[in-house]
Symmetry: C2
Subunit: 334 residues, 2 copies
Amino acid sequence: MVDRHVSVVDDAGEALKKALIGPPGPAQRRALAKTITLLESKRADHRARADELLNALLPHTGKSARIGISGVPGVGKSTFIEALGLLLLERGHRVAVLAIDPSSTVSGGSILGDKTRMERLSSDERAFIRPSPSSGTLGGVTEKTREAMLVCEAAGFDVVIVETVGVGQSETAVAAMTDMFVLLQLPNAGDDLQAIKKGVMELADLVVINKADLDEAAATRARAQITSALRLLGAHAHAGTQVLQLSAVKGTGLVEFWQTVTQFLDRQRERGTMAERRRSQDRAWMWERVESGLHERFKNHPAVRDALPTITEEVRAGRLAAGVAARRLLDLMK
Amino acid sequence: MVDRHVSVVDDAGEALKKALIGPPGPAQRRALAKTITLLESKRADHRARADELLNALLPHTGKSARIGISGVPGVGKSTFIEALGLLLLERGHRVAVLAIDPSSTVSGGSILGDKTRMERLSSDERAFIRPSPSSGTLGGVTEKTREAMLVCEAAGFDVVIVETVGVGQSETAVAAMTDMFVLLQLPNAGDDLQAIKKGVMELADLVVINKADLDEAAATRARAQITSALRLLGAHAHAGTQVLQLSAVKGTGLVEFWQTVTQFLDRQRERGTMAERRRSQDRAWMWERVESGLHERFKNHPAVRDALPTITEEVRAGRLAAGVAARRLLDLMK
């Protein structure tokens, strides 16, 4: 076991770090893949090495635009991200696409698992596409993606796109790790109310109506509805939330989209709100991981594990008050 | 210190229990006040006695209709609850009114602190009114209210109303401890969108538009809007959610309100969904208390307390990755 508190990276880690922060190319790509494999390993010694490496990379991170993109299946996320990615490569950016798939934590399946989904982007050496980690809790999957983002930044990717599907709690997780959260919507009514209901609309820094070419009248209606909904949701917090229409398939509106993104990020940078947002994301992230670790430790404590089924059943049967049960379980851990 | 795992209540506890489950009257009222004081005590030996007493009372609980009532300040909650309470006393019910005030956890102030708010109801011997516990976290305040509810049930109150204000997370807490969650609304548009935004509308088993006499047209409009919003929010889950109009000040609509409540509860009882709801509430409550206890223990652990400021600062300054920081803190607790 490597001592976790040694503050220098070992030789192998030092070599990885050098390759990562070095020039783009095959050596860097290999180091990138290797590092992410290390991050996703379940072995304690790998985890300790990954932690050391992450800390050593930290001064080289933070220089990318972190963009979160979400939308229900069928909204056209892959097409949109591929078209956007290719545009950005053309402009000299280096683009990483990471994914958080909440269903992968159950099924082991994964969005972006099939790289042919973004064939042109994934075959370009200047882009890096990483599917969702395929196992673990949502918190664990999010952590690995968050760390992969830092590694990509250290490797000089200046745009990191984190994709998720518009179901479950993964949208909150993605919004909590990016500088700007973009919600893709279809041009039909009702969709926006679903987003409001799930609290996703509130997370959005920008709402994009994709496939606007299919039914222009519907797209315009949807835009007006979403704009007024955003206004009603809280004029203050959403004063800056814009609603754009585009068509990823036809490639129309992408330039305007990126312009809106860069304007938003520039404004956040100037005001210092980007740094503040990242600091508060880090703080929240640390606490989320602490709570999750405490929960794991509790459930794995031998005395708790032994007593839990009985105590749970006592509560279920109405023989033990829930609060009393909690105190008894906590006492067992002392 | 009393051993928490002794399963019989001590003599004083036995006397309290007898008085509580005995006939209504001054002795029961004294026992009720004494027990709730015991529940709210910060002393460990009191807490242990309270736990024993709660468990001994448990077989005598569960027989009330647990009604949660929420609404923004100004919606007329006190007037409504007083009018409803008086109607129920007239019909032979025994009514307890408890409150959860999220602001009390900050300010030490408390809704229902001023009993003159429900002068007629609070002066009636057949009613029991208890203000919000005035200190502690929201979780702590909710726990005390939840336990007070059990004590009231053991004392034979067959209607327990838990009131909260329409701000903060307290509505989720109240919905999570009652059989039916009622949302009071004012007859104006926008109000309903706010409720949707905060996710409160989804919690509602019944939406009541109060002060419907002030502007009948507006109330009718609000009712139509809320009904369609509920439908859009998810036809399935909210198939049964009704929207009523009434005027608590004039006393119109109260009889229909209570009829709706009893029909809802009867249906839930017949289908077994009430028992299931209570079981899942108990389970969730146990886990909420466990997580909260783990968090407290973590923050009070000497090594963690010593290291937390430095580690938090390292994360803030970008010298330590958030996930790595969490693992270090957890290691300190081992």
